[in-house]
Symmetry: C2
């Protein structure tokens, strides 16, 4: 089955202590779509300007990503610029130019409206609602968010939570949403807001799933060097959804292994700037790291 | 086989946002010894003053801990006082009264000198050396440390590292020692300083082992509420050493499961002030949480 992915499609200018890379392909939907494409067909919904490099469209296509839902509008593509500190954990935004994103309204082509798996990657929660409103009866809906929306559009996020099967957020966002320092206490509170599956991402510390079958402690793949963590969280949830869309059996039976695949694709993402590393990998390389993670956690 | 444990034996006055508990039994050796006692016989080496409450001696004895190496000297027991912030992660020391600890020299009774398993729990590295100098030929030596010794006695720590089989430290100490932000890069550097086994503790994020058989990603047991994390790291390494001392087979085959037992005993430690919770548990309760961790990490 295919995954419909809506989110931001952007040009990212990323500065680290060691390098500077202007106008890389980025955005939550780009990272999630490429990650999902290793597992299932992907339909991308987003918007870019007429400055969007053709090579990036080709990159999507090489990954078999359906671009019927990608609007190309007159104007500039959303441009984000950020700088990482030496430890690669803290980053600050240098620049946000919304461009065509400012007035974007995602409109689903008819063929997209019955997609069974829907990933509402990080984007304004109003737009996430708008996409859901156009869907017929999706089998499984997951959403990601960011601190900004918890600050300026909390009511929209809370309404969205009631429409989701799965909600994915990072630990600082979970704290922001629940005021709980303890991740397990936060998970409990988020369940009460709606979603049956809640995943809290903890960067290099892995992630935690809370589900009807209980908790799952998902490790991060060990990396000796992080080149650029931008998009790793999007890659994680993209790969998870791609895996779920094609795995046989119920979500409950597959979601743990899906998170492991998510961890692995996220680890590749961190090994290069933007999508440069992720776009080079093969399903065999992904499977090899999954096998490694099996060994690294066995006791 | 038995474990010889040297470290601090103290009275801890612990303040959290919710409660204040004066003069609890504490110290690295106390926490490690009680944790190890669930798995193997323990010989404690330390010093207390003549103010040391008799009920704490009885507590050690109830856990079958051999006190022949515990000196009782005229003067006050080492007294530490600390306060935790609301998130229970940050703590500050309010008071450190060394008392009889100031002039303490650990002297091993003859029967202690051939102990096969030795845990040099957190204490001045000079004293850790002094204990090793009295040992005949221990089979497995592990040590813990703290930021203070890395600051004021780094050369002693570096010399100690060459005498160890295993070194256990937390992530901030690993950063302090190696200047590496990346935990796997730090592990590599610490191996070069001597120890074959290096374990980096990450609190609620679990711990990472680097060993001849590769890495092991060890989860923390999920706790919804932390009452007092004091001594959890000592409990972790104490239980690990107790497990190793009695498990059949080579250390390499047992150390992963030993860390899981360490995680579990550390989780109980966090559920009460000082040793109050740890002293109440049974081996059956420990085994039950180990089984839970198996389920929580399976994929």
């Amino acid at each position: 089955m295919s995954v419909l992915i809506v989110g931001s499609t952007a040009l990212d200018s990323i500065k680290t202590p060691k390098a500077e890379n202007p106008r890389l392909l980025g955005g939550s939907a780009s990272h999630a779509a490429v990650a999902a494409s290793f597992f299932s067909p992907v339909k991308l919904v987003g918007v870019v300007g007429d400055d969007f490099p053709r090579r990036y469209l080709q990159l999507y296509k090489r990954h078999g990503i359906d671009l019927e839902g990608l609007q190309v509008l007159p104007g500039n593509t959303f441009h984000w610029s950020g700088e990482y500190e030496l430890n690669m954990n803290n980053r600050r935004t240098l620049l946000t130019e919304l461009g065509v994103f400012e007035t974007f309204t995602p409109t689903l082509p008819r063929g997209h409206q019955n997609s069974p798996f829907v990933l509402l990657a990080n984007i304004a929660p109003g737009l996430q609602h708008h996409v859901l409103n156009q869907m017929q009866r999706p089998r499984f809906v997951a959403a990601d968010t960011m601190d900004l929306w918890l600050n300026i559009a909390l009511q929209d996020v809370l309404k969205l939570l009631k429409r989701l099967d799965a909600f994915v957020l990072n630990d600082s966002e979970a704290h922001q949403l629940t005021k709980e320092d303890n991740v397990f206490a936060a998970l409990k509170k988020i369940h009460r807001l709606g979603p049956k599956y809640v995943i809290i991402k903890k960067g290099s510390h892995g992630s935690i799933l809370s589900s009807p079958r209980g908790f799952f402690i998902c490790p991060a793949y060990p990396l000796h060097k992080v080149v650029d963590p931008t998009g790793a969280g999007d890659a994680f949830v993209g790969a998870l959804m791609g895996y779920l869309a094609t795995a046989k059996g119920a979500v409950d039976e597959n979601i743990r292994r899906g998170m492991i695949y998510g961890s692995v694709v996220a680890s590749f993402c961190c090994e290069g700037f933007g999508l440069t590393r992720t776009t080079q990998i093969t399903r065999e390389q992904i499977n090899a790291r999954v096998k490694e993670l099996e060994k690294l956690t066995r006791f």
